[in-house]
């Protein structure tokens, strides 16, 4: 079995997201980097699939050389192969990103065989375009369903059962493999790397491909801060002595049933 997960390096902001002076990017000077929680679950799922079915997992990212950090993190959790699609992605729109990733997957599959399952995050943490996985699936002529929070892979029957959370329940899909899924956080509980995993990840060879991709039709003009909600926080007390005042407030707001 071969599985692939695609991830994106993004800054990890705290209380506020600052923008660079030219308005083109998040000011990440004092920030660490990570991948979306959706993609963390994608990585974990691939590792679990390999534990269950054997075979190999690959992680791919399109981004700057620094994204090696995110590839090594995935490797420290148990992913065997890592691919960096190298590009300065500041002005890459979803069409171009998808076209470059689809080309790269075709290259990887021509060398080592098809992936039974490819996972994307449902949407990236930063730009949130909701489409790269779908465009890749269309190019590769594979089925895709988004917003997936449960996966059962049945290799003997070449199918994957996928569950999608909706208001008041879940929808069930059954796709023939090879298939692609857009996954969301809640799919599983990602593990933390072990010391042994961290050491092993340093030795994983990173395959570097140049990202090309056909020019897209969407561009960034500028990033903007949303209008700030101003609040004058009313301090209603300190410690346990505040309990009666809290219950007065509950009463006033009409939530004491």
């Amino acid at each position: 079995m071969r599985v692939l997960v695609c991830v994106k390096r993004v800054p990890a902001p705290g209380a506020r997201i600052n923008i660079t002076d030219d308005g083109q990017a998040v000011d990440a000077a004092h920030l660490g980097f990570t991948v979306s929680p959706h993609e963390e679950c994608g990585v974990e799922e691939c590792v679990q699939l390999v534990e269950r079915h054997g075979g190999e997992a690959t992680v791919l990212t399109l981004g700057p050389v620094e994204a090696e950090e995110q590839l090594r993190y995935a490797a420290s959790l148990g992913v065997q192969h890592a691919v960096l699609l190298s590009a300065d992605t500041t002005q890459w729109d979803p069409q171009r990103t998808a076209s470059a990733i689809a080309d790269a997957i075709e290259t990887l599959e021509a060398e080592d065989g098809a992936f039974d399952l490819i996972l994307f995050g449902n949407e990236s943490a930063d730009t949130g375009g909701f489409q790269v996985g779908i465009r890749v699936a269309h190019k590769l002529e594979r089925p895709i369903v988004n917003a997936i929070k449960g996966i059962d892979l049945d290799l003997d029957n070449s199918k994957v059962t996928a569950r999608r959370e909706i208001d008041g329940g879940r929808e069930i899909y059954e796709l023939p493999t090879p298939a692609i899924l857009g996954v969301k956080e809640g799919l599983n509980l990602p593990r933390y790397p072990t010391m042994k995993g961290r050491l092993a990840s340093k030795k994983v060879e990173i395959k570097v491909l140049e990202a090309e991709g056909d020019e897209g039709q969407q561009s960034r003009v500028t990033l903007l801060q949303p209008p700030e909600q101003v609040s004058n926080t009313v301090k209603i007390g300190e410690g346990v002595e505040a309990a009666p005042a809290i219950v007065d407030l509950l009463d006033e707001l009409g939530v004491l049933s």
Partner: protein, 322 residues
């Protein structure tokens, strides 16, 4: 006058309120233009579409549209775009809305801009134009340029309240689209129905707990308080990552967006990704040891202190008064 094509989101025949959001947005942004609504499969009652401003309804009828599939809906929408060459294609930015627009855009190799709050003047008629859209789940905005004759966009879910236009029933027509049989592969095959009751997104009170709660067991007092107030327990990602609560309790960018009358945030620092999920709450009470925590400075009310002492005291007081 321009042609605006709007995707009707419905589940096995009942129209979703998100469709009415898309129509309300379209009425404001594309005043005087023709608002065509595309319905994939049968809908019980088409009247709300006209009521909310549709000028025409097009129903695609086909056996394979008996239930939802992103691929069948995407192919039908792509066909309709091809036939009509509308200036704008619009849906609400729900899971389904974004998914179907992306499916159609991929087939036509056209751009698709997700989660738009605002479009430029003359958006429909310009083939080089701009939108304002959300990034980081709403923590940041982006002005984006778009070069296309047909502009495919979704409008951010909950960015507009559906408002009736008190319109007449719109004239409707039907057609039979061509759907590749292969796409039967992604039709919904079954559903699991969750137990009824208040959910996190509809609860009138949410009692939230963060890393400071400390363990799964230590959520018991938060559960008790939530129950006393007819609400639900919510949590931060630090909590789900530790395995103390299921992900379905997580509030935030990659969790649930809540909008209760009151959100009581206990031991939660208020990272921006948590805040975007909580900011639609009518009132927020932060309980935190740190007076400078982001949650505290953004809340309507705060109590400074240890949640482990304060919550039991509040429970005691609520019981005393009932």
């Amino acid at each position: 006058m321009s042609d605006i094509l709007i995707l009707c989101e419905h589940d096995r025949g009942s129209i979703e309120p998100s469709t009415l959001e898309a129509l309300t947005f379209a009425r404001g942004a594309f005043e005087g233009d023709d608002l065509h609504v595309l319905v994939c499969g049968e809908v019980d009652d088409l009247a709300p579409l006209g009521e909310y401003g549709a000028t025409a309804v097009i129903v695609a009828e086909h056996d394979m549209l008996r239930d939802f599939s992103p691929e069948t809906w995407g192919q039908v929408l792509a066909q309709q775009i091809d036939d009509m060459s509308p200036e704008v294609v619009l849906a609400c930015g729900t899971s389904r809305g974004n998914e179907v627009l992306a499916q159609a855009a991929a087939r036509l190799d056209m751009p698709f801009v997700a989660n738009v709050n605002e479009v430029a003047d003359d958006f429909a008629d310009d083939d080089e134009t701009e939108v304002t859209r959300v990034q980081w789940g709403g923590s940041l905005l982006e002005r984006a340029g778009l070069e296309a004759d047909t502009k495919i966009i979704s409008v951010t879910h909950h960015a507009v309240e559906p408002v009736s236009a008190e319109g007449e029933e719109a004239p409707s027509s039907t057609f039979e689209p061509e759907i590749d049989e292969l796409y039967a592969r992604s039709i919904v095959i079954d559903r699991e129905i969750a137990e009824a009751g208040v959910t996190l997104s509809t609860a009138p009170v949410v009692v939230g707990g963060g890393r400071a709660v400390g363990s799964a067991d230590a959520f018991a007092p938060l559960e008790e308080l939530a129950e006393l107030l007819g609400g639900r327990v919510g949590c931060s990602r630090a909590v789900t990552n530790n395995g103390w609560r299921p992900h379905s309790d997580q509030v935030g960018q990659t969790g649930t967006r809540i909008a209760p009358e009151l959100y009581i945030a206990n031991g939660i620092s208020g990272a921006i990704q948590h805040w975007v999920g909580a900011m639609a709450s009518k009132k927020i009470l932060a309980i935190n040891t740190d007076p400078d925590a982001n949650m505290v400075t953004k809340a309507d009310y705060c109590v400074i202190g240890d949640l482990h002492d304060i919550i039991p005291a509040v429970i005691e007081e609520v019981k005393k008064r009932s």
